[in-house]
Amino acid sequence: MSWRSKRREDLVNVQTSKKISAGRKLLKLLSSVKLAISLLAVIAVVLIVATVIRNQTQARRYIYHSWWFISLLGLFCLNLALCTAGRWSFRVRKVGTTVTHAGVLVMVIGVVIGAVSGERGYMQLYIGHSGNTCYSDSEKISLPFTVHLRDFKVERYRNRGVHERLVIRVVDPDFIGAFPLEVGKRFRIADTSYFVTILRYEPDFVVLGEGTYGSRSDTPNNPAVQVQLENGSQNSEHWVFANFPGMHQDPDSNVQVFYQRIEKIKDFKSKVQLFEAGKVVASKTIEVNRPLRYKGYTIYQSSYDPEHELFSVFDVARDPGVRFVYLGFLIISAGVMFTFYLRPLLVKRGGAPDSTKQNQE
C-alpha cells in the first residue's frame, strides 16, 4: 500500500467515525432524559397558551391540530420510545417505569391508528326518516347501513331541579335582566324608575269567578305569578304565565315581564333501527352514555331540535385505534400502580436502596 492510499484510507476512517459520532450524539440526545424534561416543559407551556385562547376552534386549528404541535408530540414519543428502549429492564426496580412508558407508546399507536383510519361525522334525522350519510367538517361519510329514527323523546325532570325566574325587558332605557322568583319581594329594575313586586304564585292557575283566581291542583301544570309594576304614581297589576309568555302582554308597553320556567332535561331517547339490504340488523334506544355499536361504528346521542323536538342529532364514529388506546390505558395504570405502590414494598424487602439518590446520567 502506497503512502497515498494509506492516507486516503485514514481520511475515510476519520470521516466515518465522525459520522458515527454525530449519529451517536443525535441518538444520545434523542434518547436523553434531558430532552424528555425539556419537551415536557415546552408542551406544558404550549398547552397553557392554547387554553387561554378564547375561541377553542381556533386553538384547535392553530395549536392542537397544527403540524408543529403534532410534530412536537411526535418528537416526545420518539424520545420516550428511545428512552424506554435504551433503559428497559425487568428488574423490580425498573419494570414499573418500563411498563408505564411502554403503555404511553401503545396508547399513542392507538391514537395514530384512529387519526389515520378513523371516521367521524354527525347525522341529523327527523322522526320517521332514515339516512346513511354523515357529515364531518370536510367530507361526507357513507355508512354501510341505513339508520332509521322511529321515535325521539326528550324527558324532563318535572318537579326537581326546575329553574324559575322573572325576566324583565325595558325598552327605554334599554335593559334586559333576570330576577329571582320570590313572592312578596319588591325590587327596582336596574337604573330605571320602575319597581316590581311579586304578589302571588299559583302552580295550576284557574279563573274561579270574576276577579278571583286560584289553583286547580298543587302540580305545576299552569304556573303563573301576579306582578305589580310601579312607575312613580302609575301602578298596574297583571298575571304572567310560564306556559303562555305572550298572554296579557302589551307589545307597546315600555316594560315586559316574562315568567321563565326551565325544566331540567333528564334524558334524550332516540329509538333507532339499522337496516342492511332491507332487513333490520339492529335496534336500540340510544341515550347519552348508551350508544349503539354496529360493525365497528358507534352511534352516539349528541344533540336535538330544541324548539320542536322533531329531530335528533347523532355523532357516528369509527375508531379502530380505540382498543389500543384502552390497552395503553390499562398498561399505564398497571405501570404507575406497580411503580408507586408495589415497588417500594418489594424493594424495601430486598434491602432498601436509597430512593432519593440522584441518578447521574
Partner: protein, 339 residues
C-alpha cells in the same frame, strides 16, 4: 336543621378543633394534644363520611356531581390523607395546615347550593362518575397535603427560602380566607360586588398584608430558633411520598375521565380546557418525578434537590387549584356543568 346538616356541621367544628389543638400541641410539645387533635380529625372524617353516604342514599345517585359535592369529598380526602400521614410519619406542623385546608374546603362548599340537583344526561353514569371524581380528588388531596408539607419544610430552611416560603404561605392563607369572606359576604348580600380597579387595589393590598404577615412569621420562627432537620428529614421525604401516592390516582382519574368521555360522546380526548389543564397538572407532577434523573443538568445540585422539589410541590398545587376552580371561572368548556 336536617340530620345531614348536623353531620356537616359536626365535621366543620371537628376540623376547626383539630386545627386549634394541633396549634396548642406545637406550642406546648405535649404529646397528649396531638392524640386529641388526631381524634378530632377522625371524628370529623367519620361524620363527613356519614354526610356523603346519606346524600348518596337521599339523592339516589353518587354525590360527586357539582362544586358543593366535590368540595365536600375533597375535604374528606384531605382529612383522611392527613390522618394517615400523621399516624405513619408524625411530621411536625403538617397536621394543623392540612386540617385547615380540610376546614376551608368545607367552608367554601357552604358558598354553593346544597340542593341535590337531578343530573343532566351526560353525568348519569354512576360507575364512571364515581371512579373519575374519586380518583381525581384523592390525588388532589395528596397534592394538597404535599403542598402543606413542602411549605413547612421550606419555612424551616434558613435565609431567603424561609422568607419566600413565609410570603407564599401568608399569601395563600390570605387568598383562601379572603376569598371565603368575600364569597360569604356576597352570598348574604353584605359585601358589594367588587370589580375593575377595586380588584387591583385589593390584590395589591393583599400582597402588602401578606408581606407584613410573612415578616411577622419569619420573626417568630427566628425567635423560636426553628431549624431545618436536614435535607433527609421526614418532611423532605414526605413531599415526594405524598406526590408518589397521588400521581397514580391522578393518572387513573384522567384515564377514567377519558374512557367516560368516549362512552358518552364518542371521543376519548377533545382538548376541552378542563381536560387540557388536567394534562398540564399531570405533566407538572411527571416533571417533579423525573427531576432526580436530570443529573444536575437543570442547575439543581443533589444537595438542593429537596428544596427544589418542595418548591415544585407548591407550584404543582397551584396548578391543581387552577384546574379545579380557575378553569371553571376563567375558561369555558364541557366541565362548566360542574357548577
Amino acid at each position: 336543621m336536617s340530620a345531614t346538616r348536623v353531620f356537616f356541621n359536626v365535621a366543620e367544628v371537628a376540623y376547626l378543633a383539630a386545627v386549634l389543638v394541633f396549634a396548642v400541641y406545637y406550642a406546648s410539645h405535649k404529646k397528649g394534644f396531638r392524640a386529641v387533635a388526631i381524634s378530632f380529625l377522625i371524628a370529623g372524617g367519620l361524620s363527613q363520611a356519614f354526610f356523603v353516604g346519606w346524600r348518596w342514599v337521599e339523592g339516589e345517585r353518587p354525590p360527586f356531581a357539582n362544586s358543593f359535592e366535590t368540595l365536600v369529598f375533597f375535604s374528606l380526602a384531605i382529612a383522611v390523607t392527613c390522618i394517615i400521614v400523621e399516624l405513619l410519619y408524625s411530621p411536625k406542623a403538617v397536621g394543623a395546615g392540612a386540617s385547615l385546608l380540610a376546614l376551608l374546603a368545607m367552608a367554601y362548599a357552604n358558598l354553593f347550593d346544597w340542593a341535590i340537583d337531578p343530573l343532566m344526561p351526560a353525568l348519569q353514569n354512576s360507575l364512571w362518575l364515581t371512579l373519575h371524581v374519586v380518583f381525581c380528588f384523592v390525588s388532589y388531596a395528596a397534592f394538597a397535603v404535599s403542598y402543606v408539607v413542602a411549605s413547612v419544610f421550606l419555612l424551616k430552611q434558613k435565609g431567603v427560602l424561609r422568607k419566600v416560603s413565609a410570603f407564599l404561605t401568608s399569601l395563600s392563607i390570605l387568598g383562601l380566607v379572603g376569598g371565603l369572606v368575600y364569597g360569604l359576604g356576597r352570598k348574604h348580600g353584605i359585601i358589594p360586588k367588587v370589580g375593575g380597579r377595586t380588584t387591583i387595589w385589593l390584590i395589591a393590598a393583599g400582597f402588602v398584608v401578606a408581606g407584613l404577615l410573612s415578616a411577622a412569621l419569619v420573626a417568630v420562627l427566628n425567635a423560636r430558633g426553628v431549624r431545618s432537620e436536614g435535607k433527609r428529614s421526614v418532611l423532605s421525604i414526605l413531599v415526594s411520598k405524598t406526590i408518589a401516592f397521588g400521581f397514580p390516582f391522578l393518572t387513573i382519574g384522567i384515564i377514567t375521565g377519558s374512557v367516560w368521555a368516549n362512552v358518552a360522546w364518542g371521543r376519548y380526548w377533545g382538548w376541552d380546557p378542563k381536560e387540557t389543564w388536567s394534562l398540564i397538572t399531570w405533566v407538572v407532577y411527571a416533571f417533579f418525578l423525573h427531576v432526580r434523573f436530570s443529573g444536575g443538568w437543570l442547575g439543581v445540585k443533589a444537595k438542593s434537590l429537596p428544596t427544589f422539589r418542595a418548591l415544585l410541590s407548591m407550584i404543582g398545587f397551584l396548578f391543581v387549584l387552577f384546574t379545579y376552580f380557575g378553569v371553571n371561572y376563567l375558561l369555558s368548556g364541557l366541565h362548566a356543568y360542574g357548577d
